[in-house]
Amino acid sequence: KEIVDRLRYLEAEIEDLELKEKELDQQKLWLQQSIKNVKEDSTNKSFSYITHEDICDCFNGDTLLAIQAPSGTQLEVPVPHLGQKKYQINLNSHSGPIHVLLINKE
């Protein structure tokens, strides 16, 4: 009887958790739509930039490359080979040119 009771209790718990998960999925969709609305608003778009100073202050002293690419552009990074100081990034776009900007405080 104990096991049967435990079984019923677990089933009810799982049902409750599944409902919570569905609720979270709905909220995530909502928030994603909300972010899309905000980012696509034309007024917001014209003010959605950062300055070179902003970025240099975040990465003090480093060489920086900014990449702007169309949606769907693939960025691939091969696993580095052991013993070799070689690292690679491949960028591949199918729908438009990729823009790369070298930002260097000096």
Binding site: A69, P70, S71, G72, T73, Q74, L75, E76, V77, P78, V79, P80, L82, K85, Y87
Partner: protein, 34 residues
Amino acid sequence: ASLTPKTGLLYKFNGSPSKSLKEINNMIKEGGQK
């Protein structure tokens, strides 16, 4: 040549989460440490 998960990591603009970039950074960092 096409990469597989064993040979490299992939990120898609406007398609992959930030987590993918963190995984790439960890992979590069580990490679550097080795």
